[in-house]
Structures are given as structure tokens and as C-alpha cells.
Amino acid sequence: MASRGRLWPIPRRAWQLMSALLANSYWPGFASGTIYQGAGKNVCVPFLNCYSCPGAVGSCPVGSFQFFLAGPGQTVSLYVLGTVTGVGALVGRLVCGWLCPFGLLQEVMARPCARRVKLPGILLTLKYAVLVLTVSLPVLAIGAYGTASPYFCKYLCPAGTLEAGVLLALGNPAIRGMLGSLFLFKLAILVLLLILMVFVYRPFCRTVCPLGAFYSFFNAFSLWRLEWDHGRCTGCHSCRSACPLGLAVDRTPNHPECIRCLDCTRVCPSGALQFTSGIKREESVVFGRDVR
């Protein structure tokens, strides 16, 4: 895996586009206002992508996890938990920066000035509260019939509003006929976020996304992570200037807020920042020095 702002020879935007297109590649769904019902729905994708998007060919981990929690059995889905834990342990928030379709939308919407907007710390911690509520409410807030709702999907998720709500309603008159005040409430959240996306870099990922909050715990422990070589660093702070989130990358290369866009590794003139698993061939470090 290369480390200078590219994964293999493919730039990040191409990865994002490929991921969004592949995850939503059931084209007939968009025209007919129906959803895919094939075997792909057995697979849980590692990013936020509503399974009721007309094009979705996989299952959303947040929706799926809540579905099991809110169901009659109120169980923790080991399958979904294992999937997101594995991805987090492998690459941390790289998924946010390279694969998430909703992350791509936020980047496309952002004006260049959005990168300079700093968010207050309290807003950055909001996503952890959303994560706690996403997991706890389906267990605690149980309705009269002994079942709960996937509350994050129902009241908040803007990806669901856009991908399932808007896109499905456009192609399906029956769905359009059922839209009411709850949809308008969710639509207002989506519109607010769409406006914010223009002026603030990735506002949803940084303040609301429960999956981003979950992956952020893994940044410091993931197999592939950023490593900063103190000896090579010239102190030019190019990495800090390049970071769209305004992080002091040389000080905390695996900060929980880092979405691993790897722009810092691309601009570092001395190669002091590397995205690496750290695994080396034994023969290349004989006599205590790297001879590759």
C-alpha cells in the first residue's frame, strides 16, 4: 500500500467515486422507485449507506445494528459489530475519508474556505453522544408493543433522508403519498446540513455521525496508521497546512478526528509522515538498519 496521498496508483477522489457507484449500483431502482432485493443485502458495507436507497446493493451498518437492537429479541448484532470492528482495527477512519458516499457529498459541496472553519470542541464531542443514543435508545425507549424504533434512522439520519426518502419518493408515487411531517422534519435537517457543508468541511462526519465516532476509537490502534518520523521532520508544518481538519498532524498523527485523507503524507517534503502497517521483512532490517 503506497503512502503519499494515494492508495496504490489511484487518487482518493477516484476511490470515493468508485465506492459510491459500487455501493449504489442497482440502476433500475432509481427509475422504478424500488430497492435491490438480491444477495448483496447479506453483506454489511463499512460506511453509512442507507439500505433503502434505490441503488443500494448492501446493508448499512448503523441501520442494521439498530434493527437488531430495536427488534423483538433486542440483540446486539455480532455480525455487524464484528464487521465494523474489523474495519476499524484494520484502517481506522480511512473508510470515512476514502469510501463513504456521504463523505464524498460533503467534500463536493464544500467551498475552499470551509477548510479553515474550526468547530468548537463541544460540537466535535456531539457525535459520541449520538453514538451512545443510537445504541441505547432502541433498548431503553420501548413502545407499547414491546418493540422500539431505529431512532437514529427515524429522526436524524440525513443519508437516509436523501438516499431513501428523496430518491425513492421521486420514483415511487406510493411513497410520495405517504410523506408527512416526520419526513419534512428530516428534510429540514438534511437541508440545514447541505447548507453547512458549503461553509464547514464535513460537518456531519465531525459532529453527528455515530459510525465516524465509533471508528475514531480505532485510529490510534489500527494496523495501518500514520507514523511520524521525528528524525526526518524538518518542522515546516506543511502537514498542518494541508490538513483539511486543521489538525497538528506532526504532534498527533492518529488524532480521533483524522479521516485519513492522507493529504499530509502527500505534501510532506521529507517523507516524515507515512501511512503504514509497520510490517517489515526480517531480512531488510538485519544489523538494526533498514536496508530497503
Binding site: I35, Y36, Q37, A39, K41, N42, C44, C50, Y51, S52, S59, G63, S64, F67, F68, S77, L78, Y79, V80, L81, G82, T83, T85, G86, G88, A89, L90, S149, P150, C153, K154, C157, G160, T161, A164, G165, L168, A169, I175, M178, L179, G180, L182, F183, L184, F185, K186, L187, F218, F221, S222, L223, S277, G278, I279, K280, R281, E282, E283
Partner: protein, 51 residues
């Protein structure tokens, strides 16, 4: 012969990867995948903002 060694600090990542594989296997063994499939192939009214 070339061998790969695990660098310091990566043990926890590998442990988490093993745990995640076990979780996925346990979830599959108790029938979560067909259950998930049944949910995912129906239109989610909550996701849209109807239900």
C-alpha cells in the same frame, strides 16, 4: 527466507482483527445474516421518515 514480523504496538490491532472475525462467525452461526437480509430487502419506512 523472508519472514514478516509484527512491529511494536500492532498486537492490539491483530487481537481486534481476530475478535472481529470471531464476532462475524458467531453472528453468522446464530442466523443473523438471513435476518438482516429480510430487513434490508424491504423498504425501510423509518429511514425515509414515514414510519
Amino acid at each position: 527466507m523472508a519472514q514478516r514480523t509484527l512491529p511494536p504496538g500492532r498486537g492490539l490491532s491483530v487481537l481486534l482483527l481476530v475478535v472481529s472475525a470471531l464476532l462475524i462467525a458467531a453472528g453468522a452461526a446464530r442466523g443473523e445474516i438471513p435476518e438482516l437480509f429480510q430487513k434490508a430487502v424491504r423498504i425501510c419506512l423509518e429511514c425515509i421518515g414515514i414510519g
